[in-house]
């Protein structure tokens, strides 16, 4: 009887374990499938955005073909701002949860880092495509006007954030990074408002810039598609960066536990 019960228990345990493993396997497959579908949809969107920018949007009457840089420059700036906002939320989350909910704090920290790093990638694109446009439109690569300078400062703040995370060590590193991330994000509204607050060489706001601002509907349509495409692309690499950081955190935690066990 006792033997029968233990055999039954062993059978049930094995059945439960195999059921859980099967469920986990199915979940992993589903996740991979969804990521694959999202990646394909993003690539289609990117191709469509490129087609709209190059073949559908008309030439600008004043600027000619150089105007087409706007279809990569503006979406990159918008996505960079969004990701710096995600970094801000992650930094605030880390400072809020670090004492009571360590796992949430680590997840928030990973979002903060992912947002900052991918934001820097997009901001770099802005700082390279802008001068390429400026060289043809203004005849100069760079000028120290408010929009350009505040954007460069924003980029420098987040590069210093990444350097801090790379080279600083010790338990205070994440806290210091979170504080720097919050201060860095304060520059985002200043960059956005700079060509409204001050007279700049940078063009006046195209949208919401008051009388005389605006864009041809076909151009606006093409810009909308490219905004959507770059946002989709950005989210893809943001999530990938977040997952790499979470893996790294788990690895570091396991190593720390193993080191403690050796003591």
């Amino acid at each position: 009887m006792v033997e029968d019960t233990s055999t039954l228990n062993a059978f049930l345990h094995e059945h439960r374990v195999s059921g859980r493993q099967r469920r986990e396997r199915i979940e992993t497959h589903m996740k991979r499938l969804l990521i694959g579908i999202y990646a394909v949809a993003t690539l289609v969107l990117m191709a469509w955005g490129f087609y709209q920018a190059i073949y559908v949007a008309p030439l600008d009457a004043m600027q000619g073909e150089i105007f087409r840089i706007i279809f990569y420059h503006v979406p990159s700036a918008a996505v960079a701002f969004l990701f710096f906002a995600i970094s801000l939320a992650g930094s605030i989350g880390y400072l809020s949860f670090r004492r009571n909910q360590p796992d949430w704090a680590q997840a928030s920290d990973a979002w903060a880092l992912a947002g900052a790093e991918v934001g820097v990638v997009f901001c770099t694109v802005v700082l390279i495509t802008g001068p390429l446009w400026g060289r043809r439109a203004w005849g100069i690569w760079w000028t120290w006007d408010a929009r350009l300078t505040t954007t460069l400062v924003l980029w420098l703040i987040y590069v210093s954030y990444l350097l801090l995370r790379r080279f600083a060590a010790g338990p205070q590193m994440q806290t210091l990074a979170a504080v720097l991330g919050i201060f860095g994000a304060l520059d985002v509204p200043i960059v956005y408002m700079s060509n409204r607050w001050w007279r700049t060489q940078h063009p006046a706001p195209v949208f919401g810039g008051g009388e005389g601002s605006g864009m041809d509907p076909v151009m606006k349509h093409a810009l909308g598609w490219n905004l959507l495409a770059w946002f989709a692309w950005g989210m893809l690499i943001l999530v990938l960066r977040y997952r790499v950081e979470r893996q790294q955190q788990r690895f570091a935690a396991r190593e720390a536990q193993a080191a403690l066990a050796e003591l």
């Binding site: 000619g64 073909e65 840089i69 990569y72 420059h73 495509t129 043809r136 990938l240 190593e255 050796e262």
Partner: protein
């Protein structure tokens, strides 16, 4: 095509190419990090210290 249009075209192509080089370069670097991290994780699970 006049000289101005050719230069405009070259600068536009450069802007698009640089954008894609940065984005794809970053994606490749991320992929390499992902793979290295996955290997390190598997090694630390297989051979605990």
């Amino acid at each position: 095509m006049d000289q101005r249009a050719i230069l405009d075209h070259q600068f536009t192509v450069a802007a698009y190419a640089v954008t894609w080089a940065i984005q794809l370069g970053y994606l490749a670097w991320l992929g390499l990090r992902w793979r290295a991290q996955k290997r390190a994780n598997a090694r630390s699970i297989r051979t605990p210290r």
